[in-house]
């Protein structure tokens, strides 16, 4: 498996490991009668830090597993993969942001709720980017 495919798997794994429990805890806190928004802010910051550390760790492991691949710059085929993936992620992000904004206008979610919805849009678009990369590397 090429290093950049491993890196994409690392991104997906880190996103799921960190943000799935985060959104579960966030939703539980959010629906309490008197939610403590400061604890949610701390939780969000902790999730971001853990995500960055976990992804760096996984990428470090991937680099150790494929040292030659990791030091090679992107060639034209990999640049094409990266471009296609970034385009798919961008379209996803735009669509989700429009969707969240639309609901924001028509529903009252509170600042915190909408902030988390925009964060989710970013996370989902990143998942699309990494998944597109993996699919293209798998196809060859």
């Amino acid at each position: 498996m090429p290093f950049r495919e491993k890196k994409a798997w690392a991104t997906i794994l880190a996103l799921f490991v960190v943000f799935l429990p985060f959104y579960f805890l966030m939703a539980r806190t959010y629906h309490q009668p008197d939610p403590d928004f400061y604890s949610l802010i701390h939780l969000a910051l902790a999730a971001l830090v853990i995500f960055v550390v976990l992804e760096l760790l996984l990428v470090f492991i991937a680099r150790r597993m494929s040292p030659e691949d990791a030091s090679t710059p992107l060639d034209e085929r990999e640049q094409l993969f990266a471009f296609r993936s970034a385009r798919a992620a961008y379209i996803t992000l735009i669509a989700l942001v429009i969707l969240v904004t639309f609901f924001n206008i028509h529903a009252d979610g509170g600042n915190w709720g909408w902030g988390m919805a925009y964060l989710l849009a970013i996370i989902l678009s990143e998942i699309v980017r990494a998944t597109m990369l993996i699919v293209q590397y798998r196809r060859g």
């Binding site: 090429p2 691949d69 090679t72 060639d75 034209e76 085929r77 990999e78 590397y137 196809r139 060859g140």
Partner: protein
């Protein structure tokens, strides 16, 4: 079965050149081994520049390495 209308003789030419590995060819033309494999299998059409680099390695004109299938 290639997916693209461009076929090539890279595998055959590598074998003729003392069983040159995909990695060796990849290093000579500045792409990854996976990209050489994808080109050989007809899954990826290289840029003109990479195609010329491949032809230069085998010291052959471009059309003797790559063929365009009209159908």
């Amino acid at each position: 079965m290639p997916d693209l209308p461009i076929t090539n003789r890279i595998r055959e030419l590598r074998a003729a050149k003392g069983d040159m590995s995909q990695l060796a060819l990849a290093n000579m033309i500045g792409v990854t081994r996976q990209t050489v494999n994808a080109i050989e299998l007809g899954k990826y059409s290289p840029s003109l520049e990479v195609a010329f680099r491949i032809a230069t390695v085998f010291k052959l004109p471009l059309e003797e390495v790559f063929q365009y299938q009209k159908n």
